[in-house]
């Protein structure tokens, strides 16, 4: 699979400096990274390491102050207009005044899908995230985990090839999180999507990813890129295998090497 890989996201010498009241803050410095089609890439690192910022640059929500980035061979702005990616935020952010299916229709309405197409897409993605039969419910009638699944369905609704996820399960408890990780992996396997996934959790990153990008703060930069040797098929108990623990160990080492906790 990796032999025929084609690059989807390519960043070269990417720099981003925010001007704040306390002076300039370098959120990203000299970031070079290529993400291939079908990759599941996790970004891990302490707060302020620029992992979320990188994802936002890919989504054209921030604009780099130096270097190059292309998404599907286009600039991030063009890629956004071409509906190249779906974005999942930390909170589900469902509209309380819309039912689950109406929430999933939101991007489709804006992108001008016909109502038949909308209904068809909603049915399909609800099935993908295991929420069949919940389309007519309001968000408050669903648990936190189900809400986040609905928000993933919303990001999948318009057939983007890239899924960008910014700590999507950060607010959920461990058991729900395990369940959602398993489901996400199955979804990724079925669809062949490219996923960019920001997380704080080492086990989550190792369990999900084909590649793990370790980042460190001040300035935000990549300190290590780890290729996972785990098979594509991953049951939850793979987390107890020596192979898994070895990768987790390497991630931890990478985080420690680039640490900025000077205490």
């Amino acid at each position: 699979m990796n032999t025929t890989s084609q690059p989807v996201i390519v960043a070269e010498k990417l720099d981003l400096t925010f001007q704040t009241n306390d002076g300039p803050v370098q959120a990203l410095r000299d970031v070079n990274l290529t993400i291939n089609k079908g990759d599941f890439v996790s970004f891990i690192g302490p707060s302020g390491c620029g992992k979320t910022t990188f994802l936002r640059v890919v989504a054209a929500l921030e604009h780099p102050t130096g270097g190059q980035i292309s998404v599907n061979g286009m600039t991030p702005d063009e890629a956004r207009r071409a509906r190249a990616y779906g974005y999942v935020f930390q909170a589900a952010g469902l509209y309380p005044w819309r039912t689950i299916e109406k929430n999933i229709m939101l991007p489709l309405e804006i992108m001008g899908y016909s109502s038949d197409e909308q209904a068809e897409h909603v049915d399909r993605v609800l099935k993908m995230v295991d929420l069949e039969g919940f389309g007519k419910k309001y968000p408050w009638q669903l648990s936190g985990g189900m809400q986040q699944r609905a928000s993933i369905a919303r990001a999948l609704a318009f057939d983007a090839g890239i899924l960008l996820m910014d700590e999507p399960f950060g607010a959920l408890d461990e058991i729900v999180r395990d369940h959602l990780n398993e489901q996400l992996l199955a979804l990724w396997d079925r669809t062949g999507m490219t996923v960019g996934f920001v997380t704080h959790s080492i086990p989550e990153a190792v369990y999900l990813s084909t590649r793990i990008v370790v980042m460190s703060p001040r300035p935000g930069r990549i300190t290590d890129v780890i290729e996972s040797t785990l098979p594509r098929e991953r049951p939850l108990d793979i987390r107890d295998t020596p192979e898994f623990l070895e990768i987790a160990h390497r991630v931890r080492e990478g985080l420690r090497a680039g640490h900025a906790y000077d205490d």
Binding site: A59, F89, Q90, G93, W97
Partner: protein
């Protein structure tokens, strides 16, 4: 047999719970209202005692302190006089022009000028409070509609335009610092001179008072979506219009209704104030003014109460609309 005895107490406790529930809801209201009435009646005695004593003296009754004339009593403490003449306390509740009318006097006046007139088929005669309330209500509602539309329009401009954000808000705030009593006669005179009379000038004053809470509430409401929700729409390349209709406007609904309640109350005050300086012949404001010209305190209080009842009804209507709308939107559980 056993079944019947099993179900009977269960049903009675259900009924008992319903009664208790209603009682728990009504009890605090009853307590507060009783306290207010008690204070009110108590206040009537010292407020009206001097007139009661003067009348009693004219009727040949000896009042305390003996030998003091009506003139002497004018400088004495009303509370002291009330304690020295408990026999005259009853007379303080039945005067024709009391300083402070008793609750039952106000209630009787209210009935006489509303329900009683309806029964006699003269609901809209000039002496009917219903007629005056209707005059005030029409100005209030028209002004409120103008103020709400204007307030929402201003808020939309402020949220979408940096220039309006910087320039309009200070003026809106400044406009509310001018006492309405000072500006109301001028609005009426200016509009009169260009040939606009009747309902419109009063409605303008109402609009002037009611647009501000709507603007402030709607600016807050339209800005209530957080950065994440705005970013989400950005990832769909949504236009400013789509962001407004699909996110900002629905998010602002709870703020909208709350600010409309404040706007409605302000609007009623505006209409009443607008009826005062012009020597208007109709409306609750005119009724208040006429009452104070002729020392008809009971009439003043009845007009005040009908204004309060009107405000409560109008705010209640908006509250009902709010519940219905939010329920329909799925925002109420």
């Amino acid at each position: 047999m056993t079944d019947a005895t099993m179900t009977a107490p269960a049903r009675s406790t259900g009924f008992g719970r319903a009664v208790r529930g209603t009682w728990n809801a009504v009890f605090p209201v009853v307590v507060v209202v009783s306290v207010i009435f008690a204070i009110w009646y108590a206040a009537c005695v010292p407020m009206n005692i001097k007139a009661a004593l003067d009348q009693a003296e004219r009727d040949g009754v000896i009042v305390n302190p003996a030998g003091a004339t009506a003139r002497d009593r004018r400088d004495m403490s009303a509370i002291g006089l009330a304690f020295k003449n408990p026999e005259q306390a009853g007379d303080t509740f039945v005067q024709e022009r009391p300083r402070l009318p008793a609750p039952h006097q106000v209630a009787r006046e209210l009935w006489k000028t509303t329900g009683d007139m309806v029964l006699r088929g003269k609901a809209f005669s000039k002496r009917s409070l219903l007629y005056h309330a209707w005059v005030t209500l029409s100005a209030t509602v028209l002004g409120f509609a103008m103020g709400t539309v204007g307030g929402v329009a201003l808020a939309v401009g402020i949220v979408h335009s940096r220039v309006m954000n910087m320039s309009v808000m200070p003026w809106a705030i400044a406009s509310q610092t001018i006492p309405i009593l000072a500006i109301a006669p001028m609005i009426i005179v200016v509009l009169n001179s260009i040939g606009i009379t009747g309902l419109i000038p009063k409605a303008m004053i109402s609009a002037y008072l009611s647009f501000f809470p709507v603007t402030v509430g709607m600016v807050k409401g339209l800005r209530s979506p957080d950065g994440m929700q705005l970013d989400l729409l950005k990832t769909y390349s949504a236009s400013q219009g789509e962001t407004f209709w699909k996110l900002r406007l629905p998010s602002s609904m709870p703020y909208f209704f709350t600010s409309m309640k404040i706007g409605m109350a302000a609007s009623l005050v505006g209409a009443i104030v607008g009826e005062m300086p012009t020597g208007a012949v109709a409306g609750l404001g005119a009724r208040l003014l006429a009452g104070s010209y002729y020392g008809q305190t009971i009439q003043i209080w009845a007009a005040l109460f009908s204004a309060a009842i009107l405000a409560a009804v109008l705010v209640g209507v908006i509250g009902a609309l709010q519940r219905m709308t939010l329920k329909k939107m799925g925002m109420v559980r």
